[in-house]
Point group: C2
Chain length 383, copies 2
């Protein structure tokens, strides 16, 4: 598989009170087109990743919203898979190009979350959990705290190991002008932050953010015909599902959908986890990054937490993880996240990531999770 | 294009107070698998069409819900495009098979609408309209009433012509045991029913329904390898978008997205509108069927209303339209509608439609609209 990514864009993530959802879609869509040197008339199909517009904006017809704001009458598809909506939208765009339906595709992931009171957003996000979890009064920090408790118990990791993830990702975010939290935090600050759901504290959690990201994909034949520079390509795209509720899972120390999706994407790319130079993984909570490092195959089960403190996955280390700052510190506008991960890795592979640049990366991975692991999408990108 | 449809199923449509959304998904999914002679392990990808589960059930993670209830870990994609969600899900499944990602796909369209008070559903459905239309206090009957007023004014049609659509589709529904309203109505009953939004009356409107439908698609190569009987195939699949709000449209007497989607689907099938033997069109209101007859190319603009009263589009006529009873009388569980249209036309092409059978149809068309025409999906099926 080889699907060139010819344009990318990310808006600033954060509390963007001056921008509406459509403003964000427009900025990201136009930004990616400009980066690709294309006009909207060059785009043959559009995919939109968004979770909450229905619940928070009273708008479920985003396909037509996007057609309206970008001024296009081509097929627009809205894909929704909770926090994996963005990655899923990219995956569907890849299929649209492989199918021959379109030679060029624009993917926009966008979410507007900070206009609502925090309780309403927490409630809306629970629409990604099982009915039993909703009725039990669980929240997403609560669900991931259950995973964290089990992980700490099983492998002897500590809250200090979790906190190292936050310290690392805030350091990365401090180098990223588009991040929601562009400042470092210390280990003591993380450990002393307010308890949210034991063992997770405030600084173990990703924020509620506004933001959008967009990418333009094309077929290799189109790129060749247009004599465009064929820089970075998606070389693997895998997706998998799992049961919705934690109580139905066989294990609480792994996300099976991550393993399956990674296996599919790596097989498609003819690569192994060890070949990956840089990755953006779904660290909605600090424990989630540690699970991802293991389930993606970078480390053995029960060993991922060790590297969070030793510099191996930090900028300057062997395989930097979440150079953008991750969901944790770059921010997590849910529908945008999976698309933003592609944008960050494309910048890394183009060697255009500025202060966050990893030296000469060859193969990059993105990992986007819906809910507590019910859906997972993994992409591999290479230059 | 040739994508075999190897299994189909439709639940009863109506007020199904004994069945939840997941019950409906399970019944339809298993029903289509049984019809195909397959087990869930034979299915390589699943698509779900649904609009309102977030707004009415607090559930936006349907991908994982479906994985849970059907017992599968394959990729599940939720597609959302207002009332065109079902048709869009079929379109995406077609692309998944054409792309080579999967050789078999299950598509389930489902909606649970009657658990909520009518005002809440009316409000939720407005999530498919533009912000301006929402703020103006418009409803969907109101939006289609604007289209109807303009049509009657422009072409001299009457409320009687609109009412003929309801009479015909109720007649068809009276022959369909799965329909929400399996009984006939007279022209006088329609004309004397309560005014809703002038010129539309209660019996000009489709109902709020519960229901689900499912289809199993496969690649031709898979069907050949399994020596399955290759009966009915999708031979064209077209999709198009338009601006969201009526005030932005160039014309109020046509849906441009219908014309574009039909053109794409017919081109892919190498067919013309006149070749179509039987069709299911999106008659959410009586005026919508008349617009569809013209925009799909069956009749010239301004002439479609004439045939509603003369028997041409009724069972027994030249080209029966909405043999299921349509959205108007078979019912309109929004996410299910586009999939159910495929199910009905497959039954027609298999000559298994019982009392509703059209004699020896060769080519069938389905037409699914989102909102007031912002999204449209057209499929062509042949035996």
């Amino acid at each position: 598989m080889k699907i060139p990514v010819i344009g990318v864009y990310q808006t600033k993530f954060g509390e963007l009170w001056h921008q509406s959802l459509t403003d964000l879609i427009l900025e990201a869509g136009r930004g990616a087109l400009t980066d690709a040197g294309l006009a909207i008339r060059d785009i043959e199909t559009i995919f939109v990743g968004n979770m909450l517009a229905g619940l928070t904006q009273g708008q479920e017809h985003l396909t037509s919203v996007v057609a309206s704001v970008l001024g296009s009458s081509v097929p627009v598809v809205r894909v929704e898979a909770a926090c994996a909506s963005g990655g899923m939208a990219v995956h569907q765009a890849v299929l649209a190009i492989l199918s021959g339906e379109a030679e060029t595709a624009l993917v926009v992931g966008a979410e507007k979350m900070t206009d609502q009171p925090a309780e309403e957003i927490a409630q809306a996000l629970m629409a990604a959990a099982s009915p039993e979890e909703q009725e039990a009064g669980l929240t997403f920090p609560g669900l991931y705290a259950l995973l964290a408790q089990e992980y700490l118990r099983a492998f002897g990791a500590t809250e200090r190991d979790l906190a190292q993830v936050a310290v690392k990702n805030h350091h990365h975010a401090s180098l990223n002008p588009r991040s929601h939290f562009p400042f470092p935090v210390t280990l003591n600050q993380v450990l002393a932050s307010s308890p949210i759901a034991d063992p997770l504290k405030l600084l173990d959690c990703s924020p509620v953010s506004d933001g959008a990201a967009a990418v333009v994909l094309a077929s290799s034949a189109w790129v060749k015909r247009r004599a465009q520079k064929n820089g970075i390509s998606i070389v693997g795209s895998g997706q998998a599902s799992d049961v919705l509720g934690l109580s139905e899972r066989r294990s609480l120390v792994e996300l099976a959908a991550t393993r399956q999706a990674a296996h599919k994407a790596l097989s498609a790319a003819g690569a192994e986890a060890k070949d990956v130079s840089v990755a953006e993984v779904h660290d909605c909570f600090t424990i989630a990054e540690i699970l991802a490092l293991e389930d993606l195959g970078f480390y053995k089960k029960g060993e991922g937490y060790v590297v969070e403190g030793n510099g191996e996955v930090r900028l300057g280390g062997k395989r930097p993880i979440n150079t953008s700052g991750g969901l944790k510190a770059c921010g997590h506008p849910v529908g945008a996240t999976g698309v933003k991960q592609i944008v960050e890795t494309v910048w890394q592979l183009r060697e255009a990531a500025g202060k966050r640049q990893v030296p000469h990366p060859r193969l990059a991975l993105t990992h986007n999770v819906g809910g507590s692991g019910g859906t997972c999408v993994v992409h591999l990108l290479a230059r």
